[in-house]
Symmetry: C2
DNA sequence: GTCTATACAGAGATAGAC
DNA sequence: GTCTATCTCTGTATAGAC
């Protein structure tokens, strides 16, 4: 991928995080990326192409920025999940943009494949961590890693959207998530 | 509110559920409502007015359609939550439209107040049900009704969005939710 | 590869009759 | 209150020079 493409995609994340997919205007994207609209069309063909590429890009960012210093698996698990609920520009941008793409996928089936892949990757990363923790003895064997991972990541998304829509304060969101992790990992 | 207004708003829910907020075209709305575009502008002033009213309308619908035949509190709780994850046209429409509303609120702060109110109502309804179940002895007293309600409703929203975006099959979503309810209501 | 300038379509909004 | 007809503007996309 050329430098220009990444430059435009980085700008796309910012613009989408600010105005939403719904509010994405090619001209504004061009301004944000400091290039002409024509160049954007040259690289991405059309608006749908821009969106597809932006999704891939956000996807890629989302997969990588969650790495966390290695301590014990259970702590890493908590940190990985909590990291999505942090008020830093990078996380906020990514999280908003990611939410937008999810929402958009409800109306654009062509976006779904890559969305599904990323979600599955995230789920199985979390599930793997749970299994590690089980091996280490910090989590009970009775816990179902797959289902637990699916629930926790879905909860993160739900909390995250409430945060961004102003329905839920961030500290409360983190608190609720911590409670859920506690509950999920402490078997009956 | 006049009949015409409600007629148009009912159509708006359908159109938004189908195309999203961004995909809402006044002309299409007019066709769906079987009126002229001019009439819509007459009643709602401009596109923003249409949207505001539509979101209020969705809000209102969302508050009412979750009533459930009275059995014991715990069962009603499960049914109220599971009801959001059903593949009937009405639920699907409402749920998609509601998701759109939430997503849109991230970029339109003026929508947040009514959104927050509705969410809080939902939360406290669920919390009340949990307290009832505690009184009835079906749920342990150690459960925190407020936090549990917040987590469960947020999870429903997360699962719901995954369902609509094609990331998660509906039966699986229901299964995960049931599991979460089980976990939340069965204290350590 | 990248720009400036521009064509073109589609959607929001209004005028004016009934 | 409601319609038909139409105006205007915004945003997508392309042509063509460099």
């Amino acid at each position: 991928m050329s430098d220009r493409r990444t430059q435009i995609m980085e700008a796309a994340v910012r613009v989408i995080a600010e105005d939403g997919v719904r509010g994405l205007r090619v001209e504004k994207l061009a301004a944000a990326a400091e290039v002409s609209t024509a160049l954007i069309y040259y690289h991405f063909k059309d608006r749908a192409g821009i969106l597809r590429a932006a999704l891939e890009h956000i996807n890629h960012r989302a997969q990588t920025y969650t790495d966390v210093p290695a301590t014990n698996p259970r702590t890493r698990l908590e940190q990985m999940l909590l990291r999505e609920l942090q008020d830093t520009p990078e996380v906020r941008q990514n999280s908003i943009a990611w939410g937008e793409l999810r929402a958009t996928a409800a109306f654009h089936p062509d976006l779904r494949d890559s969305l599904r892949t990323t979600t599955e990757t995230w789920n199985s990363d979390i599930a793997a961590l749970i299994r590690e923790a089980q091996t280490a003895g910090t989590v009970a064997d009775s816990v179902d890693p797959t289902a637990t991972a699916e629930r926790l990541t879905a909860l993160v998304e739900g909390l995250s959207e409430r945060w961004h829509s102003g329905t839920l304060a961030l500290p409360r969101a983190r608190q609720l998530l911590t409670g859920a992790i506690e509950l999920e990992l402490t078997s009956p």
